[in-house]
């Protein structure tokens, strides 16, 4: 164990959070601050025939009312520029913003919103994914072809992003199989549901705006404000106070520009705080519904000859960051298996639903649920134990994966062994219990990232980083990495973070990338400081810089511990000369090559940098009379490379598993026949409670991966969310004799499957 893996970890923001003194965005109040409220469409597809805000403007206490006419005419979107800040002519989902009001109180703002007159001409609803891809389907965006879009996207009418991965000859492969198994799985959309509803506060001073916002990605939010309001980056400052969870739901650019525009128009600071209902309905970030058809050919010896799959993903009304979902889903439906012949095609389909976007491991839990449930079906046809089938067919070190990537040292086979061991797979169980097993994978994301470090004259340090903390503790972990490089204690450092005008770029709390990329940046910066300290110490101790060792808060000459000087003393010397200030970025690891495959709509997701693997084994109990399932015990084994912060890593596994249980059993968006959400409340959209949480055993398969993050670390936070629902499905299928083909596998759906089995 290195110094960076000290067992006890107290997060730097912990005292703020347990005492209630930590400020979240909704806790901020500025002098003269107004309250913002939005008018939402309320209908899912319609042309606006009349929009009259005059009555709203006349309400006493109203300081600004904005519609599309009041902001620059800009279409935006990271992959397809299909979106405007306010609805322009047509509304395409119920949570689309029509108008925004700023008033002296929230009640007055709401009164003004209610006074706005909007009239609509209904347009045909697009809700079914397969129908939407038909040539005669109504279009969600009639002007789709004229939109700006990333060059790599393959688009056609309601298909916002088509992607395929092909390898070998899939028809020949299926022809040589002894068994061909075909399955269909359908997953409902679901929500990130962080406990903090989002909030934004904006204040202008002169021609510069400061925006406090509950975003996971401050630099993305800044880019969105700059793009839509026509501002240079150096006049927009995004500050994120403590962030009350995100899970992807607070990735992307949301309402920062709306609130900034209101504040500019009102000439007053403005605060927007979402209700829980708004949090459910409006943001362009919910987990995508999917339809997944899979056909697999296998030989009697248990080997896979070919796999063919068709995937439709619910994009919702606008393309948020979902442009890469089709290729990522294609990878996940292929699965971490040895497949010589493959053809997977995926469509990202516009509908009149809330837009989809990156929620913790986008596309993966649903895809894993489908492919892993299918895998157990295949094993059953062969009469093989499903775990043995995985041992035989899962990828491994030096093996070529489905997309033609050959892996370096990876731990998927070890994950299978450890997870099954953790729950005693194979032991005798009561007849209402079963253990299901599933494997999953997830890439690490290699992107640019930066940090500064300074050591002040008293020897105390500050890490000034662009990284964003969403609760995982990843930013908190950066102190350990810097301390290790400098022979200091993590407690010697304070973190300055979540401020775009202070720190260099980082992608944010997204893609499990903070330690992977910003950790490298912090270590590079710390390395510069270390060089400075060594030079100072060498001069002070009359030795060569190359012989100076930094440890325990001191610099000493290697082999001569008595020849030593404290870092505090060196910092004092530096304060009178060349200051201890450094910056780091480092080179992001490059993507491995693919051999023998071809990809259409290639956004770079078919090659996994520092791929992570997992196996979850879950013991459940089924109430056979009602279909109610309880998860009793989970074994989760993960290869996420070297674990830098074990406390934080365990927290990610435990939280990811719990979220996966919710996705498996109780969390799914329900729509009415007008494409409006029916369960936009926490009573009806059921997160798992403390009373539901099972025993969770965890094992880390720690492989020091080259071409990865600090000390061989890979990403972590999303991977635990991948395989849980799939493992629950496989346990259930053992008890029912057939899988439940709808996600979530609600008690009623389980009962329906059970009833169908009984009748067959």
């Amino acid at each position: 164990m290195t110094a960076a893996t000290k067992p006890r970890f107290i997060r730097a923001d912990g005292p703020d959070k347990v005492t209630g003194s930590g400020r979240y965005t909704a806790d901020l109040t500025l002098t003269g601050m107004l309250a913002a409220k939005f008018l939402y469409a309320g209908v899912a597809h319609a042309r606006i025939t009349k929009l009259d805000v005059s009555a709203a403007r006349a309400v006493p206490g109203v300081m600004a009312v904005l519609t599309n006419d009041d902001v620059p005419d800009v279409r935006f979107g990271p992959f397809v520029q299909d979106r405007t800040l306010f609805a322009r002519d047509v509304v395409r989902f119920e949570g689309e913003v029509i108008a925004a009001v700023a008033a002296t109180t929230a009640a007055i703002a709401q009164q003004a919103v209610d006074a706005i007159i909007v009239e609509y001409e209904p347009l045909p609803l697009v809700t079914d994914l397969e129908t939407a891809l038909g040539a005669d389907s109504p279009l969600v965006h009639t002007e789709w072809a004229a939109y700006g879009a990333a060059d790599v996207l393959v688009r056609d009418r309601n298909d916002a992003s088509f992607s395929s991965i092909s390898k070998g000859d899939v028809d020949a492969g299926l022809a040589e199989a002894d068994h061909v198994i075909t399955s269909r799985y359908v997953a409902d959309g679901s929500h990130a549901a962080p406990i903090e509803p989002r909030a934004v506060v904006a204040q202008w001073e002169g021609n510069k705006v400061t925006i406090w916002t509950s975003t996971q990605v401050p630099f993305d939010a800044r880019a969105g404000v700059c793009e839509t309001l026509g501002l240079p980056a150096n006049r927009v400052r995004i500050i994120v106070p403590h962030l009350g969870g995100g899970f992807g739901g607070k990735c992307g650019f949301h309402y920062e520009a709306h609130v900034a525009a209101l504040a500019r128009a009102a000439k007053r600071p403005v605060r927007l705080v979402f209700s829980r209902r708004e949090e459910f309905l409006a943001p362009d970030r919910r987990r995508e519904g999917m339809v997944i058809d899979i056909t697999t050919g296998v030989r009697n010896d248990g080997s896979i000859t070919a796999r063919k799959a068709w995937i439709a993903i619910d994009n919702g009304a606008y393309t948020a960051d979902s442009g890469f979902f089709s290729q990522l889903a294609a990878m996940h439906v292929s699965g971490p298996y040895r497949i010589p012949n493959l053809h997977v095609a995926a469509h990202l389909v516009y509908t009149n639903h809330q837009p989809s976007g990156s929620v913790r491991a986008p596309t993966a839990p649903q895809s894993c649920w489908a492919i892993e449930s299918h895998t157990d079906e295949v094993a059953a046809v062969l009469g093989m134990d499903p775990v043995d089938f995985r041992r035989r067919n899962a990828v491994d070190t030096g093996v070529e994966g489905p997309s033609g990537q050959t892996y370096g040292e990876i731990g998927v086979q070890q994950c299978i062994e450890e997870a099954t061991k953790l729950v005693g797979y194979g032991r005798a169980l009561p007849d209402d219990e079963a253990i299901g097993v599933a494997i999953g994978w997830w890439p690490s994301f290699s992107v640019p990232s930066g940090a500064y470090i300074k050591i002040d004259g008293d020897g105390s340090g500050q890490i000034i980083t662009g990284a964003q903390e969403c609760g995982t503790g990843s930013v908190m972990t950066l102190r350990q990495l810097a301390a290790e490089e400098l022979g200091m204690d993590p407690e010697d450092f304070q973190l300055i973070y979540q401020d775009t005008s202070v720190a260099p770029y980082d992608m944010g709390a997204t893609g499990s990338q903070t330690v992977f990329n910003n950790g490298r940046a912090v270590m590079a910066a710390a390395g510069q400081i270390a060089e400075q300290l060594k030079a100072l110490a060498a001069e002070h101790l009359e030795a060569s810089p190359a012989d100076i060792v930094l440890a325990d808060g001191h610099a000493h000459v290697a082999g001569t511990p008595s020849s030593t000087v404290s870092i505090t003393e060196l910092a004092g010397i530096a304060a009178g000369g060349e200051l201890l200030i450094a910056h780091g970025s480092g080179t992001p690891p490059s993507a491995p090559a693919l051999v023998g495959s071809s990809c259409v709509g290639d956004v770079g997701m078919a090659s996994f940098v520092a791929p992570q693997f997992s196996c979850h084994a879950v013991r459940i109990r089924l109430d056979r009379d009602t279909g109610v399932v309880r998860v009793l015990e989970v074994g989760a084994a993960h290869d996420s490379g070297t674990i830098i912060n074990e406390t934080g890593a365990l927290g990610q596994i435990q939280g990811g598993v719990m979220m996966g249980i919710g996705q498996a059993l109780t969390e799914g968006t329900l729509y009415d026949d007008q494409s409006r959400q029916r369960n936009a409340a926490l009573l009806e959209y059921k997160l798992q409670t403390c009373a539901d949480s099972p025993t969770i055993h965890t094992h880390f398969v720690q492989i020091n991966t080259p071409n990865a993050g600090p000390h061989g670390a890979k990403g972590l936070a999303e991977a635990p969310n991948v395989a849980t629902a799939a493992a629950i499905s496989n346990a259930l299928a053992k008890l029912l004799g057939a899988p439940v083909r709808r996600l979530p596998m609600t008690a009623e759906r389980v009962w329906e499957t059970m009833s169908g089995t009984d009748h067959s």
Binding site: G20, I195, E196, G651
Partner: protein, 155 residues
């Protein structure tokens, strides 16, 4: 209708004049300026707004401030003793039971109420005692461990 009442929060009297229809959480956060109590929903479904009234847990989002007049109200800001963290606060830090922190104040209030009426709760009793507080980050494992650790320390 505005009413003038006294709210006793963490042992301090706060005279406030408020609309009679205001819920307690908004008065705590706005008039009294204690923002440690959070709002995560509107309807008793998340527990982020949990406070204690007469030592018992109450969802302050769904409780009229007027009804709390002259009753002892406890919020997360009153849990420390002087500069010392409450053993439960310390245990949450030690065990890693805090992630985003948004559920933490409500969780602390529910847990202190539980421990004050049951010094040695079983794991099941803790699970039920905290079942009105949703946490999306932790999977509850380390929160349970922290409550157990705090209870053990108090014994």
């Amino acid at each position: 209708m505005s009413i003038s009442i006294n709210l006793n929060v963490n042992g301090v009297d706060y005279p406030v004049t408020i609309d009679a229809g205001r819920n307690l959480v908004s008065v705590l956060r706005t008039e009294i300026g204690l923002t440690g109590t959070k709002e995560g929903c509107d309807d008793c479904e998340c527990g982020a707004c949990m406070v204690l009234i007469d030592g018992q847990p109450v969802n302050s989002c769904s409780y009229l401030a007027a009804q709390a007049a002259d009753r002892p109200i406890s919020t997360v800001e009153g849990v420390m003793t002087g500069d010392d963290l409450h053993p439960l606060q310390q245990a949450l830090l030690d065990e890693g039971g805090v992630q985003c922190g948004f559920c933490t104040p409500g969780m602390i209030m529910s847990a202190t109420a539980l421990l004050s009426r049951n010094a040695s709760p079983t794991e099941e009793e803790i699970r039920i005692g905290l079942s009105g507080n949703l946490c999306r980050c932790t999977g509850y494992v380390k929160i349970l461990a922290a409550v157990q650790a705090a209870a053990a320390q108090a014994r």
